[in-house]
Amino acid sequence: MAADFKTAQPVEYYRRFLKEDVRPDGRELGEIRHTTLNIGSITTAEGSALVKLGNTTVICGIKAELCNPTAEEPKKGFVVPNVDLPPLCSPRFRPGPPSEQAQVVSQLMADIIENSGVVALEDLCIVEGKLCWVLYCDMMCLDYDGNVVDTCVISLLAALKNVLLPEVTVNEETGSPVTDVEKKLPLNIRKCPVATTFGVFDDHYLFTDPTNEEECLATGVLTVVTTEDNKICCMHKPGGTALSESRLQDCINRALTRAEEVRKLIDETINSVER
C-alpha cells in the first residue's frame, strides 16, 4: 500500500513524512547517514581512501607523476581532480564520456582545492622551473545514492592525508631525476575542507545529506564547504529555491559542526592505520 502510494505520488508521499519531522529512511531532518572510512587500501596509488556515506560509495586514488612546471608559474606543481560517475554506480549513467553532472562535480572539486588551499602548490615543486609533482586525484563513484559531493570531498581529503611521495632528486650531471623509493615523505596538508550538502523541499523544509531519491524530489540543493578555522571556502547553490539569510546562517552553522565531526573521523582513522 505504502509502496503504491510512493510510486503514484512520490512528492506527496515525501511531504507526509516531512510534516512529521522524519524521513522515509527513518532519519531526522538534520541527521547525516553513517560515515565509514577506509584509508590506504589501494597500494598501487600513492594515496587512497574509500568513503561510504550510507550507501553512497566513493573511492579516491591519487597517482603522483613528475612533470615540468609552466613558464608562468615555475614554482608550482599541479593537483588535478577528476570525478568519475561510471555506469557501474547507477542506472542513470550510461557508458561514454563524462556526464554533465560528473563535469560539474569535477570542477567543484578543483574549486575547493584551489580556494581552500588544502595543498600549497609550491610544496609540489622539486626543482624550480624544471621539475615538479602532479597529483592526479581520481574519485570514482561505486554506488550512487545521493550526496556524491560530500563523499568526494571526504575521500579526497583522506586520500591526500594518506599520500606518501618518494624522494626525488635531480642528478646534476645528466639532469635527469633520480627516485629514492625507500625514502617516502607525507604531503603537507595545510587546510581540511569538508563539504555539507542540504536539500530544500517545498521551499521551507531543509534536510541534510540527501539520498538519491531526495535529490530528485528536492527543489533546491546547497553545498557549504568549510575549513577548520571556521571559514567558508566554497559555496555551491545551483539554482532552485531561494533561501533567506537566516536559513543560510542555519545551514552554515550546521556545516561547521558536521565538518568538525568529519575531521575527527579522518584523524582517528589515519591514526588507527599503521603506516
Binding site: T57, A64, L66, C67, P81, N82, P87, V134, D145, P166
Partner: protein
Amino acid sequence: MPTDSRRVPGPQDSRSPHWYGKHATRQEGDTRPDGRGDHDLRPVYLHAGVVSQATGSAYIEMGQTKVIAAVYGPREIARREEFTMKGRLCCELKFATFACRRRRQHIQDNQEKDGALIVLQALEPAVCLDRFPKSQVDVYITVLQDDGSALAAAITCAAAGLADAGVMMYDIVAGCSVRQCGERQLLDPSVGEELSQEGESAEDHGMVTVGLLPSLNQVSALTLDGHLQQQTAVQAVKTCIGGCQGIYPILKDCLVTSTRKKIPALDPKSSHASTEGQNGQT
C-alpha cells in the same frame, strides 16, 4: 592526443617517478614472494550485493587485486536495433586510473576492450539469453587494483554479480590464471610474477586464463599469451581448471550468504537453487 574538454586538464605530459627508481628484483627460490606454493591460490574474499543501485553486484579481492562488478537489467536495448528473440549481454571493463603502477588513462584502451570481450564470451554460455527477449543485461566491471590475475577475477566477479541480479543461468563461471615460467607453473600469479622477465628466454613462458562452468565442466573462456610447447599448454590449461574448481565453493558460499540475506525466511537449499537458476544442460 586531443585534449579532453570534459575533464579537469592536467599538464601536457607527465612521467611516473618509478621510471627513475631502482626496481626491486625478485629473489630466486622455490617459494613465491608471498610464501605460497606454486599451485596455491591467494586468499579470496567475495561478496555479493555491494552496489545498492544495481540489480546485482559483486566485489572480489584476490590478494591485492580488487574488482567490482555491477549488473543492470534486463532492461530495454539502448540502441534500437532489429528485433531479437534472444536477450543481449553487454560487458564493459575498465581499469581505475590508479589500478596499476603506471597511471592509466580515462579513455578505454585496447587492453580493456579485449578484456571486456573475453569476459563477455566467458559469461555468454552460462546465461539463459532466451529468457529475456528484446532486452539487454549490462555488466560493468571496474578493476580498482590490479595485482595480477585481474581478468580471472573479473570473470568470477561478473558471474557472481549476474547470479546476484537473479539473471537465469545454466551455471556459474569461475575464472583462474596460470603463469608459466620455464618449468614452473604459478597459479593465480601476482603482478610481480606476471611481469617478471624470468623465463622469457626459456622455451616455455606465458600466461593462461581460463573461465570454467564448474558443474557442467565446460570451458567458456580460454586465452594464452606467450610461447608454450603443446604439452605444457595443455598442462597449464589443466592447472587453470583445477584453480577454477578451487574458486567454485567460494562462489557458492558467497551466493548462499547473499541470498539468505535477501530472503531470511528461505531455507538454504531452495535459496541456492533460486540464484543459480536451473542447473542443467540445454
